[in-house]
């Protein structure tokens, strides 16, 4: 830790920077900010801040940014998950100086003009929410997070207007999270020395110092809860288990087992959501209520009786390799020692035609 401090101080900025150079013509640059929904000061504020990214800055307007980037050959995106806001640029390699500069300006120079909030940010946020809510699996996922963690990781991912948020509050949140210590720059297809050089010349070097919000304690787990929501459309029954980091491997293999042809049960999706300090394993069965009811009972029966999942460890490592190629910050998990799995306490959610979906105690 001490050596890192020394190294970063001599560099003039305390931001963690990592980059890997690959052959090819494309570079990806991502700024990961510890400002995901778990760190939200009000429900949905991370989402709104994320939608404010790439709006007008004092250096250039959103219009100019888009037009310049089109001609240079790159695209921007700002996405959120429960841990982080990710500001990304994907561009042709020679555009590095421009894109370092443009991304940095978003953190340091966003104007937060009052009219942008109602004219641009709110409608876009509303659109994200309505698009996500069209999927009953998303609704179930949100509910399971809320049941399993209550606060923090249980916060809603998107802004839904339940807690009103003002522009001032978004600005305050931005000032809190956009600090040197709370962000990490990750490059791929980029030479690290070049990246460091351009960062030191960019406004990232002028970001205020603060402290990392990254949580270092394991959140409290809540288990045995149930929730049911009536809704039209397809029905979903879902199970979640909060997971400690040391159990990640078991649940990775278990997810691979359930979603592959190795198991005889039918699940729409099963995955381990990995966050810092904790994870949430989720399993969804979707379709007609009668079918869902039958399938979720079969799944629960299988899991409660215990299953040998060692046959899926190879598939799990393949899936992890594929996931790590696609993700910005890959998690390392050793799945070779996983043997079997038995379901203990869990949280349960039913959405849709709930009169025809089983209760948790019927599973």
């Amino acid at each position: 830790m001490l050596s890192r401090r020394l190294a970063t101080q001599s560099r003039g900025y305390a931001t963690k920077v990592s980059a890997k150079d690959f052959p090819g013509k494309v570079s990806t640059l991502t700024i990961k900010v510890n400002a995901g929904s778990r760190y939200a000061t009000k429900d949905g504020i991370s989402h709104l801040l994320s939608r404010f990214n790439f709006q007008n800055t004092t250096a250039r307007s959103a219009l100019r940014l888009t037009r310049e980037s089109e001609l240079l050959g790159g695209e921007f995106s700002s996405t959120i998950d429960r841990d982080s806001i990710y500001l990304s640029a994907k561009f042709l390699k020679e555009g590095l100086p421009y894109y370092v500069n443009a991304l940095s300006d978003v953190l340091y120079k966003t104007s937060f003009k009052p009219h942008e909030f109602p004219e641009v940010v709110l409608p876009a946020a509303k659109y994200d929410l309505s698009k996500a809510n069209a999927s009953p699996i998303f609704k179930a996922d949100e509910l399971l997070h809320s049941l399993s963690f209550r606060n923090g990781l249980g916060n809603p991912l998107y802004y839904d207007g339940v807690q009103k948020i003002s522009l001032e509050e978004i600005k305050e949140f931005a000032n809190k999270v956009y600090t040197k210590e709370n962000i990490e720059v990750i490059g791929s297809g980029i030479n690290e020395a070049d990246l460091n050089k351009f960062i030191s010349e960019s406004s990232l070097a002028q970001l205020p110092t603060g402290s990392s919000l990254s949580s270092s304690s394991v959140p409290k787990f809540y288990q045995g809860a149930e929730s049911r929501i009536r809704a039209s459309g397809e029905s979903v029954a879902a199970i979640a288990v909060p997971v400690k980091t040391e159990e990640f491997a078991t649940f990775e293999v278990f997810s691979a087992y359930l979603t592959s042809a190795l198991s005889d049960v039918v699940v729409s999706d099963a995955k381990l959501n990995k966050y810092s300090q904790a994870g949430l394993f989720t399993l969804f069965v979707k379709g007609d209520a009668s079918q869902v009811s039958e399938n979720i009972k079969k799944v629960a029966l299988l899991l409660k009786s215990g299953v040998d999942i060692s046959s899926a460890s190879g598939l799990a490592s393949t899936k992890l390799a594929l996931a790590s190629e696609a993700s910005v910050v890959p998690h390392q998990v050793d799945v070779s020692k996983v043997k079997d799995f038995k379901l203990g306490k869990f949280n349960y959610v039913a959405i849709g035609d709930i009169n025809n979906l089983p209760f948790a105690d019927e599973l």
């Binding site: 052959p23 939608r51 001609l71 994907k90 042709l92 590095l96 876009a124 592959s260 190795l262 598939l315």
Partner: protein, 450 residues
């Protein structure tokens, strides 16, 4: 076995870097074996997984109206039959059916490549079907087709666009087949389709990601047994200006697609048409960035909410193509304005397109070409489909050089012959009462004065 010809294409930089940033070049390597199989690989040192698969020139264009859907049905049956065995070996087995090819691939770690090839040989190359699995997959496949027909309106419109534009030619057949045709197919249909089409000259073995070309060639020589033979001839696609309307006022929006005859994969104007499509690009009313794009059409569409989304395409096949756009709009009463302004913008390609618009389109096309190849599977699919269609795969540098050649005059010349006062194919579903009749749309393809 002999490796007859080994060639490799190296990417050279044609760009002037503003700063010196270290970069190296990746290669697509080809080997043609004496029995007619082509092995094509691209290794990516950054990849942690290896994708290995067979790309076979057997999609819906290899079918006829009576066995339409057989390639999709076969694909589903083989993939589901191989999945369990693959999973035990730590491999993910997948498949895909398109108009002109179908793909069978495994994704896994480099160490499992030999097992992966064994599996492909056992399940794909030499067919191993049980009547039980065929019946089960027939039920699942027809269900999936039904689901597609009922829910994916944009996809359905695109299928109907092909069906009307290329009527009575192989490209008209829907990729998945229809419930009627697939439910009539039996095991022997699958087997005879396999026998005819899964032959050496019609197959490319593709590997990408964490792989070495020599290793793959050696494995293929040792393990893969494919019948030698040549692929059946496929009739040429012919474009016919026409329309199909599936009006359904119970749906919440309108889905429309309009297209001109486009360019075939081997056409010299392939990249001109691609750039022309990128000039108008994609649009989503709800995304803030849509207001800032450098496209004149988005101005009028955005201010009046003429469309929820649209995307312009230049689809190319072996013997034909479609150039046009597909749109979805919930503002169904001004569908006429949407088609009017869009077609008027297309007119500009022939008469008044600007240098800046073309430069922007070229740059966006370059992005698209590169950004889409973001995983070993995407790369493998690109290699497989292009080698099957054209016998080769252009390197990124070749593509960039071709795109750089496109300029205002080539766009104007191309649009003047392909778009200006030319027939169109129209397909629509949903609330399309306000979609102009064919002749009014056809008349919009030219201006009386400019």
């Amino acid at each position: 076995m002999l490796s007859a010809r080994t060639s490799s294409v190296t990417k050279n930089s044609v760009l002037n870097f503003k700063r010196s940033i270290a970069t190296s070049y990746s290669k697509t390597q080809f080997t043609s074996l004496s029995n007619g199989i082509t092995v094509a690989t691209e290794s990516n040192p950054a990849a942690k997984s290896a994708t290995l698969g067979l790309w076979v020139g057997a999609g819906s264009t290899s079918e006829n109206p009576y066995n339409n859907g057989v390639s999709n049905f076969l694909n589903n049956t083989i993939v589901s039959g191989a999945s369990k065995e693959a999973a035990k070996l730590g491999l993910q087995f997948g498949g895909q059916t398109a108009k002109e090819f179908s793909a069978y691939y495994t994704q896994g770690l480099k160490s499992s490549l030999p097992q992966a090839l064994d599996l492909l040989n056992a399940k794909v190359s030499s067919l191993d079907l049980t009547s039980e699995s065929v019946l089960k997959q027939r039920e699942l496949t027809t269900k999936a087709i039904e689901h597609f027909e009922e829910n994916d309106h944009a996809g359905r419109v695109l299928e109907h666009l092909h069906a009307t534009a290329f009527q009575n030619t192989p490209l008209a057949l829907p990729t998945r087949g229809t419930v009627e045709t697939v439910s009539e197919l039996i095991q022997s249909d699958l087997e005879s389709f396999h026998r005819k089409n899964f032959v050496s000259s019609n197959t490319v073995v593709v590997a990408s990601g964490d792989v070495k070309h020599e290793d793959v060639v050696e494995l293929v020589e040792k393990k893969l047994k494919i019948q030698t033979g040549s692929a059946p001839e496929i009739a040429e696609a012919k474009f016919l200006g026409s329309e199909v309307r599936l009006r359904d006022d119970t749906l919440p929006a309108a889905w429309v697609s309009i297209a001109h005859q486009g360019e075939a994969l081997s056409s010299p104007n392939y990249y001109v048409a691609k750039v022309a499509a990128q000039i108008f690009g994609d649009y989503n009313y709800h995304e803030p960035i849509s207001r800032n794009l450098g496209v004149k059409l988005t101005g009028v569409v955005g201010e009046n909410h003429l469309a929820d989304t649209y995307n312009h395409f230049s689809l190319s096949y072996k013997s034909g193509g479609l150039w046009g756009f597909a749109t979805e709009t919930s503002n169904v009463q001004i569908l006429d304005d949407l088609t009017h302004f869009t077609l008027k913008e297309w007119n500009r390609l022939s008469v008044s397109i600007t240098e800046t618009e073309v430069a922007r389109g070229k740059q966006l096309l370059k992005n698209k070409v590169l950004f889409e190849l973001s995983s070993p599977l995407a790369v493998a699919n690109d290699i497989g489909s292009s080698v099957l269609a054209t016998g080769r795969r252009a390197s990124a540098d070749e593509i960039f050089a071709q795109i750089d050649k496109v300029d205002v005059s080539s766009i104007k010349k191309w649009a003047g012959s392909r778009l200006w006062d030319q027939d169109i194919a129209v397909a629509g579903t949903g609330q399309i009462e306000d979609l102009f009749d064919y002749m009014r749309l056809r008349n919009e393809t030219a201006l009386l004065r400019w």
